[in-house]
Symmetry: C2
Subunit: 225 residues, 2 copies
Amino acid sequence: MSRENLMLQIHQIQDEMLVMGSLVEQATMQSIESLKKRDIKMAVEVYNADRKINEKRYAIENSVLILIATQQPLAHDLRLLAALLEVSAEIERMGDYAKGIAKVVVNLGDFDIPVPIKEIDQMATLALSMLHRALGAFIIEDGETAKSIPAEDDKVDEMYNKVQRLLVNLMIEKPQNIDHANLLMWVAHNLERMADRVSNICERTIFVTTGELVEIESKKKEIKL
Amino acid sequence: MSRENLMLQIHQIQDEMLVMGSLVEQATMQSIESLKKRDIKMAVEVYNADRKINEKRYAIENSVLILIATQQPLAHDLRLLAALLEVSAEIERMGDYAKGIAKVVVNLGDFDIPVPIKEIDQMATLALSMLHRALGAFIIEDGETAKSIPAEDDKVDEMYNKVQRLLVNLMIEKPQNIDHANLLMWVAHNLERMADRVSNICERTIFVTTGELVEIESKKKEIKL
């Protein structure tokens, strides 16, 4: 197989990866929407749709491994294929978080608790925007953009802290809220973790472009000594 | 290269993976120890040791990819090599959780708050025991053991809920505890996530033995409909 042909096949896998990314975006938005509307049916749809995302990941993994085994790519191309394995794994796990949010909606039922939906919405919007741009940067191998995105994780963390504070106040006001407020804590957690996974995707993009693996940590997450 | 030779090389990589696993075990125990003793110096050591774990992962990844590219393994051997990529990534991320716990210890300083250390200790012990056995099952390709381990995640979740409840009570009793109790919440979260990652390792073991990828969910984590 010529290198052009190899690149063509890699591009096809990348397209699949982008489809996977948009499935996860959709699932996340729908999970938040189901929380907003307390729509259990919609939440169950998100929950069940996760299977499709998982299948996509395994299909991508399979294609990548066969390509590595049969085409013996080296240097940049091998890094790119390895990155596709890692990135599709990260996207799949983000899908699990969307599924986790859907699960909260189901377990929350119609229990009367004020959901800090504005803040949760903002967290989801920012996390998904980060994902969208991170995948774009991965495709065009734009290391500079990949380097800049993880810093936005600080904003997600700030929102997360705000949601947490609101929920703790709800618990303090009415201890009978504790169980349900804890469920909502999971929603915020899952969104926070999504943003973390975007940083992993960005690390891989940098690796593909430079051959160097660096662990990016946002400033706020660095240890204070 | 003969298949015997390939298997020999794979076994060498597996040995490296076991070393990585024991580094993570050590880091986790040490992070809990530093929390127990409020020993910031020890916590900083854990934080810094994470670099070594990351390097091991990338070395393993590199060896695996080169082996796939140059030896063109198929079927079981290709699945096993792919599994080594996934498992070493999971172990590395578990190392990040130990690092996260160390960070909490540093940020907690000597703030006077009762740490639910007994429960945290139990969580760590169980999570690490799960990891240990999961890696053992991976090495000997024991699918049955791999299938049985994720169920223990329910126990970790139970302990997690207990810690959460204790911490929420601390917040309710003394709202000035909120920030520090939240930090402790992260410790419990990180341990809970570790156990989740063990389940991913078990899924891979099943994949290696059967060729089928299944997403194992513990009973309690399944959606209640």
